[in-house]
Structure formats: structure tokens, C-alpha cells
């Protein structure tokens, strides 16, 4: 029998002081929290500190948790509050130009030379070089260690807020309102950031997978 399947079961067990419940929480969410912390600071040791501080906040706050949000969202919220404080401190001690806060560029999702120009006689703005196939089993290729490495590097290369949005939405599967609320931005703004982030990661993947020898 699998223990602690619902938030309610977990929260109840935590409040009763059941250590196995907390161990379950740690196993389940440490990794995602570390990834989330890495979207907020650039230093891995700082990210690990943030995660540990967040867990202490979870322990101390578990009696006050109300089921208005999911346990997962609540833990993420604690972590992001701590991370924001630390990120402010980090920015003060690192030269401004070395960090890329902000939304990033507003360039096109696909390079314009991939499309026919406006004055093309038959197909203006249609694909001139359409996407190449990713092979007979793209889902399989996308699961390989090498391809996951390409994806991870593409995520790290994103501007901070784009990285945060794509992590919350696509890596962690939060909903649009959940992600927007956690980041303190509107859903519309979040959607724009998500679009840019996905376009960039897709470009990196296309470059990698487009090579027929891989």
C-alpha cells in the first residue's frame, strides 16, 4: 500500500509528527525545489542554501498551512520568497552586467529567413525551410541523456524570468494561474514569457536533432 497519496494525508501526518511523512515530502520535492531555486540564483551553493531554508520554513509553517493552495504550491511559495531575498543580496554583490535579470529579447520565434518574404508571388510568409523530421521515434530521442542535456543547457541559457516560467509550467506542470501567482505577474505576461522560452528551447533542440547523424 502506498502511503500519503493526497495532500490531506500528508499534511495530517506531518502535523501528527510522523517522520515518514516528512521523509516522503523530502524525497518527492527536494529535486524540484532545487531546480526552482536555480531559476532564481546563479550559484548552486546559494540554491542549496535556499532549499534548506525553505524546508525549515515548511516545518515551522505546517500548522498554518491552509488547503487553499496545494501543498506543492505552498512549498514553492515559501521557497520563492526566500530566493527573492537572497537574489536581491546576490545582485548587490555581483556586477550588474554579469547577471541577466528581466524578460529577455522580443525577437521572432523562428528566424525570418526560414520563411518566404512578403513579395513572394505564391507563398509570402510561408515556410521556405519547414521543420525537418526528428526521426521515426522523436519521443524516444527526446528521452536520451544527450538530448536531455541539450534541453537542460537551453533552459540554463534562458533569461531569468523565462527560465522560471518554463520550469514552473512545462517541467513541473503547474497551471497558468498557479505559475503567474507564484511569480507575481499577470497570466498574460507569463504567457509571453512562456512563448519566448519555448521558442528558444525548441530552436536549440532543432539544431541538435536536425543532424541526421545523431
Amino acid at each position: 500500500m502506498r502511503l500519503y497519496q493526497t495532500d490531506d494525508e500528508l499534511v495530517g501526518a506531518l502535523r501528527r509528527g510522523e517522520e515518514t511523512a516528512f521523509a516522503t515530502l523530502l524525497d518527492r520535492y527536494y529535486g524540484p525545489m532545487l531546480r526552482l531555486a536555480m531559476t532564481q540564483v546563479h550559484n548552486r551553493a546559494h540554491a542549496e542554501d535556499i532549499v534548506q531554508e525553505a524546508w525549515l520554513g515548511v516545518v515551522q509553517g505546517i500548522d498554518r498551512f491552509e488547503s487553499r493552495s496545494s501543498l506543492r504550491t505552498w512549498i514553492s511559495h515559501i521557497l520563492l520568497n526566500i530566493a527573492r531575498t537572497r537574489a536581491r543580496r546576490e545582485r548587490r554583490s555581483v556586477p550588474f552586467s554579469a547577471l541577466e535579470a528581466g524578460d529577455g529579447d522580443a525577437g521572432p520565434s523562428v528566424a525570418p529567413d526560414r520563411f518566404f518574404p512578403d513579395d513572394h508571388p505564391r507563398w509570402p510568409h510561408h515556410w521556405a525551410s519547414p521543420p525537418r523530421s526528428w526521426g521515426p521515434s522523436p519521443e524516444e530521442r527526446l528521452l536520451s541523456k544527450e538530448t536531455q542535456g541539450v534541453i537542460e543547457r537551453a533552459i540554463v541559457a534562458l533569461p531569468d524570468t523565462q527560465r522560471a516560467v518554463i520550469t514552473l509550467r512545462d517541467v513541473h506542470g503547474l497551471t497558468s494561474p498557479e505559475a503567474a501567482h507564484l511569480l507575481g505577474i499577470t497570466e498574460g505576461h507569463q504567457r509571453v514569457l512562456l512563448h519566448r522560452a519555448r521558442s528558444k528551447v525548441r530552436r536549440a533542440l532543432e539544431e541538435y536533432l536536425g543532424d541526421p547523424l545523431r
Binding site: 509528527g17 517522520e19 516528512f22 521523509a23 523530502l26 524525497d27 527536494y30 529535486g31 524540484p32 532545487l34 531546480r35 542549496e48 534548506q52 524546508w55 525549515l56 516545518v59 515551522q60 521572432p108 520565434s109 523562428v110 525570418p112 520563411f115 507563398w123 509570402p124 510568409h125 510561408h126 515556410w127 519547414p130 521543420p131 523530421s133 526528428w134 522523436p138 519521443e139 527526446l142 528521452l143 538530448t147 536531455q148 534541453i151 537542460e152 518554463i166 512545462d170 517541467v171 506542470g173 497558468s176 504567457r191 512562456l194 512563448h195 519555448r198 521558442s199 528551447v201 525548441r202 533542440l205 532543432e206
Partner: protein, 86 residues
């Protein structure tokens, strides 16, 4: 403001992909989007690859908690529990 041409072109579609998947396109835009998809292999593949990529993002492995950190945090939990029980 000039209305966009009736048929959507590929270069426009790729900028609307996220909104389409989020379900936030206006109904008229969604119809144009889907009409174009039906007649464009390139855009059909673009959308398909975007979906495959998003699925792959959802399957990225997460790191396991280092044992020492886990023990430290479990101890913190015990300390909290024991102080609460007074």
C-alpha cells in the same frame, strides 16, 4: 487598423502557437489557425514538435536529495515535533 488576411501564414502561426495551446486565442483566430494547420504540413509538424518538446520537459529527471541533507532536515523535523510536544 488593417485586418489580417483571411488565410493565416506560417510566420504568423508560429507566433500564436503558445496562445493556441493555452486556449486563449479568440474564436476567429483559432478557426484561422486550425484552417491553416489542415493545409500545411510544415506547421502541423511545428506544432507536433512543440508538443513533443513540452512532454520531454515534463520528463526531465530531478536530483535526489543528498543523504546528509536529508538526515539534517529530518533532525530539524524531530526537533520541531519534540518542542511542540513540550
Amino acid at each position: 487598423m488593417r485586418a489580417p488576411p483571411v488565410e493565416m501564414a506560417c510566420q504568423e502561426l508560429v507566433e500564436l502557437v503558445t496562445e493556441y495551446m493555452e486556449g486563449t486565442l479568440r474564436p476567429s483566430e483559432r478557426l484561422r489557425f486550425e484552417a491553416h494547420l489542415r493545409r500545411c504540413d510544415g506547421c502541423t509538424r511545428y506544432l507536433e514538435q512543440m508538443r513533443q518538446m513540452i512532454a520531454a520537459l515534463g520528463r526531465l529527471p530531478e536530483e535526489a536529495i543528498p543523504e546528509q541533507i536529508k538526515q539534517n532536515l529530518l533532525q530539524a523535523f524531530r526537533d520541531w515535533r519534540n518542542s511542540a510536544r513540550g
